[in-house]
């Protein structure tokens, strides 16, 4: 098993390929069984309350629609800063995630809240654009004030075996990010196998990604538990190998509190408690936040609240 | 087949009944205000888990053995047949992908739900076939037990007909049966419940999906059975039931290129014609057996074994080298 060996300086596709194919395989059935087993953890009472607040602080509150408008983005930002107007003890979310042309609007709306703006970039979601366009996309978002960039990898290049191209693009985007954090979206639903998820994770980490992210949310399946499990194993192994902690962001398909808590259990028992911070784990979601708020109310009051008590933004 | 508006049997049947009863001379019957009017069921097709009418908007009258009008059944059209194959195909991946255990549980559930509607099925058989209630009870019980029988086969047929092959060489070699796909089942004409169950259950037990063309003259039990299937956790599309004319539907279904196999039990004189039509796309065919025209009593054998399972199975053999 060569993956603990220090990776060679990646200069050729051949070397990259050798490295990625030296990673141990993933047995699909076993990985699913492990994720399923962890999803039966029963998180109750005090543990649930702590988990809900933690999950809220990890939400990248997202709107990525063709129909997005400055008004929509501003209302989302208001929600991010004050998720529950009736309860000021609710923590603020991790970040607001928007398209590049909405970054300036979001930055303005969030001024003074301490909440950062994440922008998808690099011709999200397909990523089918020339590199200079992708870099311009990234630089513009950063210039407008995005503190985090969510890029997509070139899945076509990855699936055709051109790992060097994928690697070089990530390196270039990372450079274009400057001080902004880089999240690398693998779009695992298109990579198809868990072996590929593991390889793409290691490729993204080697190229300098600060986070690895499952999905754009535009392709099904998005963030499944086994995929997140494999990515958490990858960041755990990368840390053991290099001492650097890379974050993980499942995005897409995490709609309720139960899903979110299952993800936190996965983090806790795979990468470990060190990853239980918004600096190293985020959840990309839009409808999740209200369910977290409802469950939070349920825990503190003992009764089930209705959806109309939470703001729809 | 006569369509509803042309049919006069109903009146004849009603006129007959009092005379049969004996002594009373036929007299004028005064119209009475009923205490409560019964709500009659509309019989429709069963397609993709729902009960639509025929897209053609047609129906045909169904009468009892003595000619009494029982209900109107949907007269399925070529397009209904086409839709039923499409929905069966769509359901195949999911159904064949279920575990054998799960399919067994569902088939057993069919038996449970059917047992609960025993009286209804029995009454219908009495009406449809003019048989005694005792006989009808016997057929219904046998039909329920038939589902139990095939529920047991779901996770056993592979063990009985598959296995390891001792090839001469360093290879692991193993053969296992797999469902063939979409099976069109022409249910026996004179055996609308037990016969139907006996041909349908083995088809879906192994993971095939089915399009059933019910008995033409006695289609109501097939629709009652569909209601049982719809409430027994059978996924929509696994069984689709068409009522109507074998002569009208048969040519389209038997020549359909996306049908994998045919059970020709209820095709009567058309069996050879349909077998020929199937040859074009090498659709598998199970010819009508001696029981096909024998009525319900011909289907009482409690242990048909794998005889109705294997015709709708493919055998897949896997080779793999053995070495360090």
């Amino acid at each position: 098993m060569s993956h603990t060996a220090t990776a060679p300086e990646a200069t050729t596709n051949h070397a990259l390929r050798a490295h990625l194919y030296g990673l141990p395989g993933v047995d699909e059935v076993g990985a699913r069984a492990r994720a399923q087993d962890l999803s039966t953890r029963s998180i109750k009472t005090t543990a649930k309350a702590a988990a809900i607040d933690l999950a809220i602080s990890m939400v990248d509150l997202t709107t990525l629609e063709g129909a997005d408008t400055p008004g929509k983005v501003r209302s989302l930002c208001a929600k991010a800063a004050l998720p529950d107007p009736a309860d000021r003890t609710v923590p603020k979310v991790g970040a607001v995630c928007v398209y590049p042309d909405m970054v300036a609007t979001a930055v303005e709306a969030l001024r003074g809240t301490g909440i950062g703006v994440a922008s998808v970039a690099t011709a999200f979601p397909a990523g089918r654009a020339p590199l200079d366009v992708k870099l311009a996309d990234t630089r513009r978002a950063v210039a407008d004030g995005a503190s985090e960039i969510d890029m997509v990898i070139d899945r076509g290049a990855f699936l055709s075996g051109d790992y060097l191209k994928v690697h070089e693009e990530i390196v270039a985007v990372k450079e274009a990010c400057g001080d902004a954090h880089l999240k690398v979206i693998l779009e695992t639903g298109e990579l198809n196998t868990y072996d590929n998820v593991r390889r793409a994770s290691h490729l993204a980490m080697r190229a300098g990604g600060d986070f690895i992210k499952t999905s754009t949310g535009k392709v099904a399946p998005a963030a499944t538990l086994p995929v997140t499990l494999i990515m958490l194993e990858a960041v755990r192994d990368h840390h053991a190998e290099t001492g650097r902690r890379v974050g993980v962001k499942p995005a897409g398909g995490i709609r309720n509190t139960k899903d979110a808590i299952r993800n936190l259990v996965l983090v806790n028992e795979t990468a470990g408690p060190a990853w239980l911070t918004p600096d190293l784990f985020r959840i990309g979601a839009s409808s999740l936040l209200n369910d977290l708020l409802m469950q939070r109310t349920r825990l503190s009051t003992g009764t089930y609240p209705g959806p109309d008590y939470y703001t729809q933004d | 087949m006569a369509e509803r508006r042309e049919n006069k049997k109903k009146d004849k049947g009603e006129a007959k009944a009092p005379t049969k009863d004996g002594a009373k001379a036929p007299t004028q019957v005064d119209a009475e205000v009923p205490a409560r009017l019964a709500v009659k069921k509309t019989y429709k097709l069963y397609l993709g888990g729902a009960f639509p009418r025929s897209e053609s908007g047609r129906s045909y009258p169904v009468t009892s053995a003595d000619g009494t009008h029982l209900a109107n059944a949907s007269l399925a059209s070529r397009k209904d047949a086409r839709d039923s194959v499409a929905t069966a195909r769509k359901a195949f991946g999911g159904w064949s992908g279920r575990t054998a255990y799960n399919r067994g549980q569902i088939l057993y559930r069919i038996a449970e739900v059917m047992e609960g509607r025993h009286a209804q099925f029995a009454e219908q058989l009495v009406a449809a076939q003019g048989i005694t209630r005792a006989k009808a009870d016997r057929y219904v019980r046998a039909a329920v037990d038939r589902w139990v029988y095939y529920a047991g086969w779901t996770d056993k047929f592979a063990q009985v007909i598959g296995g390891a092959n001792p090839v001469a060489g360093p290879y692991y070699n193993h053969s296992a049966p797999e469902p063939t796909g979409v099976v069109v089942v022409f249910a026996p004409q004179g055996a609308p419940l037990l016969g139907l169950t006996s041909v349908l259950a083995p088809v879906i037990a192994t993971g095939n999906t089915a399009v059933v063309v019910s008995s033409q003259t006695a289609p109501l039990p097939a629709i009652e059975l569909a209601e049982v299937l719809a409430t027994s956790d059978v996924p929509g599309g696994v069984v689709n039931v068409l009522t109507g004319n074998v002569g009208e539907l048969g040519p389209h279904l038997t020549a359909h290129a996306d049908v994998d196999a045919l059970d020709l039990a209820g095709t009567g004189d058309r069996a050879v014609e349909f077998e020929r039509a199937a040859a074009t796309t090498l659709t598998r065919v199970l010819r009508p057996g001696p029981e096909a025209d024998g009525g319900e009593q011909a289907w009482l054998d409690t242990d048909p074994g794998t005889s109705r399972l294997t015709p709708f199975l493919e055998t897949k053999t896997v080779w793999h080298p053995v070495g360090v």
Binding site: V26, A47, A50 | Y101, Y108, A151, G152, D303, H320, V324
Partner: protein, 476 residues
């Protein structure tokens, strides 16, 4: 942040425990003639759960006579289809009462609720369901056109999977037309007694199933009773030998499912995370109280150094404690006697210079507990590599080549199970072909299914339970 899981105990209220339980003979609960009772404890806290009757020779006589009568007058004459329907009923009632059975099994045995809930009880229902379907298809099972039942079966089962072992014994016996007298283990009799209630609820004819509780003496009286046609035993190899001796010279048929010292072979190309998981499941599932446990890890030397820290990190995450807590991975040792045996054998490792490791943690104060333990530097000569510990103790050995792995794996009088971890299919098959064991798991471990035969080579016993093959033991 430290993510502490708050206690999440499964409710005990689904279980209505009686103070005393009598024997189940001929469809009725009847006191033992000797009037003696033993206490069944909750091994997690030593709380007394119930008093259970101890069957003596006279009770065995009664039970065997009832079983004989039922076999000859009702059960053996009934059509297979009707027998099958009784078994389907039983399967359904087990599904309906699944939570009650799971909680009771956890209370009486000490195993975690997540195992009884997700593994034991679902498998029990599935086993009855599977054999129910065989009852009217015996002519198709490959044992001749008209296979006949043997008659009355005497069955003795262990405490590690109380209800599951009952299902493995009773379901095929009944499906084939035999009647049974079954003795559960003295430390775990309670679910068998609820099963007796389920037989009543299913309106099973009296005498078809008889349950005799008691200890070793009861078991001896049962297996030596001249009125039975078949003995089926699951338990220790030592008792298995005694039973084999006692049936010699009789017409009784015998199947034995005994001990094991399973090897889990991990090649250097294995999917490492799943292999770690499988090795952990292999030995720590059910506290290692598993005859087919992967109690010997054979790891290829070229990856041993990388594998072991990962293994220990994973073991450190196992949650040991209240078996009724839904988050517990490792429950209590079943009895004081078993705990003593595990301690004694593991202590020999210390004396023989083996390195012993357990994650740092406090064990509960009451009850019987043993921390998950990994022994490294073990060689074939050590007692912990040869004897069945039947507890949460893993012995780690290394190998260099596939030949050596197979040689070491087979170098035991046992032959029940083995595991092979490799991403290379041909090597997996090569290894499986050479292993002298009845069940080989590849890239998985401790998997059970009613359709799949289970049983051992060599001193792990003879005969198979489960699957089509499992019918043979009950057919003449």
């Amino acid at each position: 942040m430290i993510f502490e899981y708050a206690p999440a105990p499964e409710s005990r209220s689904v279980v209505g425990l009686r103070q005393t339980y009598d024997l189940f003979i001929d469809g009725e609960f009847v006191p033992a003639q000797g009037g003696e009772y033993v206490t069944s404890l909750n091994p997690a806290d030593e709380e007394e759960l119930a008093q259970v009757a101890v069957a003596g020779a006279a009770d065995v006589d009664r039970a065997v006579a009832a079983a004989r009568r039922a076999q000859e007058t009702v059960w053996g004459r009934m059509s297979g289809a009707e027998r099958g329907k009784y078994l389907f009923r039983i399967a359904r009632i087990i599904q309906e009462r699944s939570r009650e059975l799971a909680v009771l099994e956890t209370l009486d045995n000490g195993k975690p609720i997540k195992e009884t809930r997700d593994v034991d009880v679902p498998l029990v229902a599935a086993h009855f369901f599977y054999y129910a379907g065989w009852a009217d298809k015996l002519a198709h099972a490959g044992f001749g056109p008209n296979p006949r039942p043997l008659g009355v079966a005497a069955q003795v089962i262990p405490w590690n999977f109380p209800l599951l072992m009952l299902a493995w014994k009773i379901a095929p016996a009944l499906a084939t037309g035999n009647t049974v007298v079954l003795k559960p283990a003295e430390t775990t009799p309670l679910t068998a007694l609820v099963f007796a209630q389920i037989c009543q609820e299913a309106e099973l004819p009296p005498g078809v199933v008889n349950i005799l509780t008691g200890a070793g003496e009861t078991g001896r009286a049962l297996v030596e009773h001249p009125g039975t046609d078949k003995v089926a035993f699951t338990g220790s190899t030592e008792v298995g030998r005694q039973i084999a001796r006692s049936v010699a010279g009789t017409d009784k048929r015998l199947t034995l499912e005994l001990g094991g010292k399973g090897a889990n072979i991990v090649y250097d190309d294995a999917a490492i995370d799943q292999a770690v998981e499988g090795v952990v499941t292999g030995i720590f599932f059910n506290q290692g109280h598993v005859c087919c446990a992967g109690s010997r890890l054979l790891i290829q030397e070229s990856i041993a150094e990388e594998f072991l820290p990962r293994l220990k990190a994973r073991v450190a995450k196992l949650r040991l404690g209240d078996p009724l807590d839904k988050n517990t991975d490792i429950g209590a040792i079943n009895s004081a006697a078993q705990l003593e045996r595990i301690r004694e054998l593991t202590d020999t490792a210390d004396e023989e210079g083996v390195e012993r490791w357990s994650p740092a943690r406090d064990l509960p104060e009451s009850g019987y507990w043993f921390a998950p333990t990994v022994l490294t530097g073990v060689s074939q000569a050590h007692r912990v590599a040869r004897e069945e510990i039947f507890g949460p103790v893993l012995s780690v050995l290394t190998f260099r080549t596939p030949e050596e792995a197979v040689t070491k794996a087979n170098n035991t009088p046992y032959g029940l199970s083995a595991g092979v971890w490799t991403e290379k299919g041909s090597r997996m098959l090569w290894t499986a072909e050479r292993l002298r064991a009845g069940v080989i798991w590849s890239n998985t471990f401790n998997k059970f299914d009613p359709t799949s035969p289970f049983g051992g080579y060599k001193e792990s016993g003879y005969g198979r339970e489960g699957g089509r093959h499992g019918l043979e033991a009950y057919l003449g």
